[in-house]
Amino acid sequence: MIFYIGAFGLVLIGFLIMMTQKNVFKIVIGMSIAETGVHLFLITVGFIKSGLAPIIYDLNIDKLAEIKFVDPVPQALILTSIVIGVATLGVGLAFIINVVKHYKTEDINKIKELKW
């Protein structure tokens, strides 16, 4: 349970930062924090208390079926997801460099030449 609270706490903190902060850097960092929360959530989904790492080193152990293993799939998923997150973060930071170059400001409220 504590992990779920932590995971959604992180997601909420991240989204809150994205909504309230004015600095473009902080917005991208908020995005990154929310992403970490999602990763923690995915890990928690597959976690079993006092479960072992899902590696069978000896097929002849007694009562193999009774041993509790942690689900390895979410761990594989977040590896992919972390890579995607880094790519998004990279593109975001590249955008920030150019935003600051063009607008000479980091304040998101001053970056609004486009209107509906």
């Binding site: 997601v11 989204f15 994205m18 473009v24 917005i27 991208v28 995005m31 929310a34 992403e35 999602v38 959530f41 995915l42 989904v45 597959g46 689900d71 799939v73 979410p74 998923l77 992919t80 997801s81 995607i84 790519a87 998004t88 593109v91 975001g92 590249a94 955008f95 920030i96 150019n98 935003v99 063009h102 607008y103 970056i111 609004k112 030449e113 486009l114 509906w116």
Partner: protein, 490 residues
């Protein structure tokens, strides 16, 4: 019966591998990178047609790395995604050919790298049979789309790209949380397996997952009120990219919604109603804001929102005939909007503001491009002899047989507004202007316009896209079809 076939794999691998290969070899083969990219996408189109011929009879699946489903990733193509893949790759070839002439300066090698990556992503979305794999391809598509919007490195395009990135990444995060909840309930990622196990899931949990998926995918498919990024991104990107974003990227979001609704949710009424209402509101808001625009590409971007609303409305209208009409309208929108963006974009290519005034007198200077704009606009309005007439009348007939007069009148109001602003554009084409003709449109670019014009006109007179009813039935039964993959393996 599901058959094993590896064509879907080529559709993804070819653009993905050549994107990185061409980028690495860029310094040696700088001159021919554009041509090679065009050839890759052309070959993809060829494969997609062959695949389409196969899926007419049997759905196709691919098991990757020797893992048997439901373990491991599998690809799955039925008639419905087969049609989708053909249209995707047709647009891909057209855009690649157009880019040969349109992208003359700036970050050329990066442009083709991202374009190929984009097509790897969208082909992957269309053929995948695994929910997490769907997310990965969705991210490949989104990240390359963010970068493509900002590739011109002009002030406004950077701003539009940054906003798109922020909102798009929120959408992806919500989608990922949804996938997490889904996995915690069913313990599998294979769509066929999910479809089987979903019946045991609690309705409240289903609604939570539904809310996360709709808000995540709704951002990409530009459902109101999640579409604030769209007009900026679509209008500020280079015209070839606007065409791709408007014709393909938002449809990828819609495809995800359909997949999610029919496979994962197994048709749940509250979700249907939410999407139905979202469709109506999106349509009206989109058309209304499009009417207010003076900027050609911005107008088209808002019109995309409106059309997307109409398509969502038809798809989630509840009857099979409406879904067929929605599919036709979806394809009509893809073809017409690509034609409008490409032809108008070339006429306005020397102007930064894409103002409507730039189009004045275009009919006398660039007749074929101007006819392209006219035909595309007429088809979106639903004028007879174009494909749009056929699809729109089918939507209206579908709602009238359901006895839903309110929705019919709302669609007609939206069509009226659409008519007004598109007539404004067409009128501009015939205005007199004193501008000198500074450039000519190359023959091959004109050929693209002619191809799309002919497609829209021929489909308008002879509206046969194969067994459309069958494809829609494929979509409705996709949970059953996809779970067949599990049996074949045994």
């Amino acid at each position: 019966m599901v058959v094993l076939n590896s064509y879907p794999l080529y559709l993804i691998l070819l653009p993905l591998a050549s994107a990185f290969l061409l980028f690495m070899l860029n310094s040696f083969i700088k001159k021919i990178v554009p041509v090679l990219s065009f050839l890759v996408l052309g070959f993809n189109f060829f494969i997609s047609i062959k695949l389409f011929a196969i899926v007419q009879h049997n759905p196709v699946y691919v098991k990757l790395a020797g893992f048997l489903p439901p373990i491991g990733i599998n690809l799955f193509v039925s008639g419905f995604n087969g049609l989708f893949v053909v249209v995707i790759n047709l647009i891909g070839v057209a855009v690649a050919l157009y880019s040969l002439y349109y992208i003359k300066e700036g970050a050329k090698s990066q442009y083709y790298f991202l374009l190929l990556l984009f097509f790897a992503g969208i082909n992957g979305i269309a053929v995948t049979g695994d929910i997490f794999n769907f997310f990965v391809f969705f991210e490949i598509l989104s990240i390359s789309a963010y970068a493509l919007v900002g590739i011109g490195n002009k002030k406004l395009s950077i701003e539009a790209g940054f906003k798109y990135l922020i909102q798009g990444s929120i959408g992806s995060l919500l989608l990922l949380i949804g996938i997490g909840f889904l996995y915690s309930q069913v313990g599998t990622l294979n769509l066929g397996d999910i479809a089987v196990k979903m019946s045991t899931v609690d309705v409240k949990m289903k609604l939570l997952i539904g809310a996360l998926f709709i808000s995540g995918l709704g951002i990409e498919s530009a459902l109101f009120p999640l579409n604030f990024w769209l007009p900026d991104a679509h209008s500020m990107a280079p015209s070839s990219i606007s065409a791709v974003l408007s014709g393909l990227a938002i449809n990828a979001g819609l495809y995800g919604l359909l997949l999610f609704y029919f496979v994962i949710m197994g048709t749940l009424l509250p979700v249907l109603n939410i999407l139905f209402v979202a469709g109506i509101v999106t349509m009206l808001v989109g058309e209304f804001f499009a009417y207010r625009q003076n900027n050609y590409k911005r107008m088209l971007a808002f019109s995309s929102t409106g059309q997307m609303g109409l398509v969502v409305l038809a798809f989630f209208g509840g009857t099979v005939s409406l879904m067929v009409a929605g599919l036709l309208q979806l394809i009509n929108h893809m073809l017409s909007k690509v034609l409008l963006f490409l032809s108008g974009g070339y006429i306005l290519k020397n102007r930064d503001d894409y103002d409507l005034d730039g189009l004045s007198g275009a009919f006398y200077k660039f007749p074929i491009a101007a006819i392209g704009i006219i035909i595309g606009a007429l088809s979106l309005m639903g004028v007879p002899l174009t494909f749009g007439f056929y699809s729109k009348i089918k939507i209206l007939l579908g709602f009238s047989s359901a006895g839903n007069i309110t929705v019919i009148s709302l669609i007609l109001i939206a069509s009226f507004i659409e008519g007004v602003y598109f007539i404004k554009v067409i009128q501009k084409l015939f205005n007199k202007s004193n501008d000198k003709k500074e450039f000519k449109i190359p023959l091959l670019v004109n050929l693209i316009f002619i191809l799309f014009i002919l497609l829209i006109l021929i489909l308008g007179v002879y509206p046969h896209l194969g067994n459309v009813n069958g494809y829609v039935k494929n979509l409705i039964n996709s949970s059953k079809l996809m779970s067949e993959v599990l049996n074949v393996v045994k």
